[in-house]
């Protein structure tokens, strides 16, 4: 069920880190849109700013980082108490970028309306508290339930994420569970208050392929049940193909291409996206064609020493000297719902 209602709109977000060695422009003018009940995949290399952008939404950017510009409009939705599904009706719009990171307002959103699941479940869960304690904490905090009911809800949630024997595992410590079970626990914790947006920062990167497949299926299923959106951050294009409805490709803090998942895979516009898709190893290529694995030349530049103009131009096969190194290309909507930042494309009349 794909409502066309907007859930989150990030406009020209700039998050900089002010360090002794210099300023790192981790996110430098990023635009993202997430509709309700849909999945946005955010893909890019390490250092492209996708994780920082995610944390900027929740205002948990690491020390030294500040949002210097831009807006993050979040459409607060109510939750149907009967079905636990989010209603796709906007109650109010809040600009998250203006909130103080320690304010009550943002804290009421964290964990309840927008939740996050992290990459490494072993280190992302507290080693000295039971998972029941950690899940129950979120429930008690946001839903004001007494410990007995909170525990019941936690068990229920664990059951929903497919945790075997939830009444037993709830009293276990993270180091007593397997990797897949830990990630399920994390998901249970993140979804226990039925948020409207789940941010998943490389949730399956640390898991083996079988477990990964199970977790991904679980996430799609829960998305349906709870009517929520997912912002799925990964560098794995295969996962994107499976999970995302729309995809945003990031490079050096900017979104260089933004399209539906089909359009991205069948008609990639930005040279970076094209190079990314080319570099996926393909099975069955005949060896006698002597094709080496395509990779993108060069490497990600020193964050303190960024090139002028388009961030990708030093590594771009199609760059135009004199144009690409002068100014940043503006975002143009080439097809409906397909945006790209590249001088090769002009805004259609």
């Amino acid at each position: 069920m794909n409502d066309s209602n907007l859930l989150l709109q990030m406009r020209d977000l700039k998050t900089y880190f002010f360090l002794d060695e210099g300023t790192v422009k981790a996110v430098d003018g990023a635009d993202l849109e997430i509709k309700s009940c849909s999945t946005l995949g955010v893909v890019g290399e390490s250092g492209c700013g996708k994780s920082v952008a995610a944390r900027s939404i929740l205002r948990i950017v690491a020390k030294g980082g500040k949002i210097v510009d831009g807006e993050i409009f979040f459409h607060h939705q109510l939750c149907d108490p009967g079905t636990d599904r989010r209603l796709s009706k906007t109650e109010e719009v809040i600009d998250l970028a203006t909130l103080d990171p320690q304010s009550d307002k943002i804290r009421s959103i964290r964990g309840a309306e927008i939740s996050m699941v992290f990459q490494e479940p072993m280190t992302s869960l507290s080693p000295v508290h039971t998972i029941g304690n950690q899940i129950g904490e979120v429930i008690s905090l946001h839903q004001k339930l007494d410990p007995k009911h909170a525990r019941e809800k936690a068990i229920d949630m664990l059951d929903r994420v497919g945790m075997p024997l939830p009444q037993r595992t709830i009293d276990r410590y993270p180091h007593e569970l397997s990797g897949g079970m830990r990630q399920r626990a994390m998901i249970a914790m993140a979804l226990s208050c039925h948020p409207s947006l789940l941010i998943a920062d490389e949730p399956t990167t640390a898991l083996d392929v079988t477990t990964e497949a199970q977790i991904l299926t679980l996430m799609r299923q829960l998305q349906e049940e709870l009517g929520m959106s997912i912002m799925f951050i990964t560098h794995n294009l295969g996962v994107i193909a499976q999970m995302a409805d729309r995809v945003a490709v990031m490079y050096l803090g900017r979104v260089v291409e933004d399209a539906s998942v089909d359009a991205l895979f069948y008609k990639p516009l930005h040279p970076y996206t094209q190079a990314l898709l080319q570099s996926i190893p393909r099975l069955g290529i005949k060896k006698d064609r002597d094709q080496r694995l395509a990779s993108i030349s060069g490497s990600v530049p020193d964050p303190y020493n960024l090139p002028k103009g388009c961030p990708f131009h030093p590594r771009c096969a199609k760059r135009i000297p004199g144009v690409c190194d002068k100014e940043e290309p503006p975002q143009v909507e080439v097809d409906p719902g397909h945006k790209v930042r590249c001088v090769l494309y002009k805004q259609p009349a």
Binding site: S115, M116, S126, P127, Y173
Partner: protein, 328 residues
Amino acid sequence: MLGYILRRVGIMIPTLFVISVLTFIIIQLPPGDFLTSYAASLRATGEVIDEAEMEVMRERYGLNQPIYVQYGKWIWGIISRGDWGQSMSLQMPVKDLIWQRMALSMVLSVVSLIVGWFIAIPLGVYSATHQYSKIDYLVTFISFVGIGTPSFLLGLVVMYIAMNFLGLSVGGLFSDAYILAPWSWDKVVDLLKHLWIPVSILAFNGTAGGLRTTRANLLDELNKPYVETARAKGLTEGRVIWKYPVRVALNPFFSTVGWELANLISGATLLSIVLNLQTEGPMLLNALTAQDMYLAGSFLLLLSVMTVVGTLFSDILLAWVDPRIRMT
């Protein structure tokens, strides 16, 4: 959990036994025995004691028997009837002399430990979360000074200041009126009035060490992913810090309780000699110089027992606090 406790207690008993042997041997190390030093001190005042008399006294005190017999009798006396022997220099049963002093030692050490923690932990947490702030520098400076200044020197300084600027004489744990008085509520109050000085001095050392450990451990933990998860759940910053990284950072802290206690006991012994407190320090010193075997040996044994029990306690505390330890 219970199994862990029982195992540790089980190991403790042979440990105590070996320690009792060790302490007895150590006490016997000085050449001669009580009587030779007694005779020497008599000679210093001009009196002379002849060999025959010494032999009679040796017989009486059982000092002419082989060492293991003396040890056996001593240990058996302790286990069977709580008789710790006779103090030869003070001519009293040892058990009448040691218990009050050891109890006061315990009180002094434990109170200093707890006071030290109550100051070190909050300050250490603040220091770590507000790195490079003015308070952080101040706290770091104080902790360095505290580590570098031994408690007995601090005791001297405090006594000097109190005497010169406040006109107080700050030795002892009781005012003259209460030293020999039986225990009463007033006596306890008097004790408290005097206790805070040695406790502050001892706690200063403990605080300094605890501060550095807490700060360093917490700094390590603050960057870990689980802290970020807690924040993403919507908890207040205070709760994020205190419920998660502080809990983990305190683990190594708890594991050093036993060692801290031993250190405190050592420091307290020295401090009590300087400040002339009614704990075991001054009496132990005299007993050692006079070679009063049973008195010194009993003190040494009891101090070691305190240390072993303290270590046991800290191990149990650590297992209770850190579930990962319980598995081993």
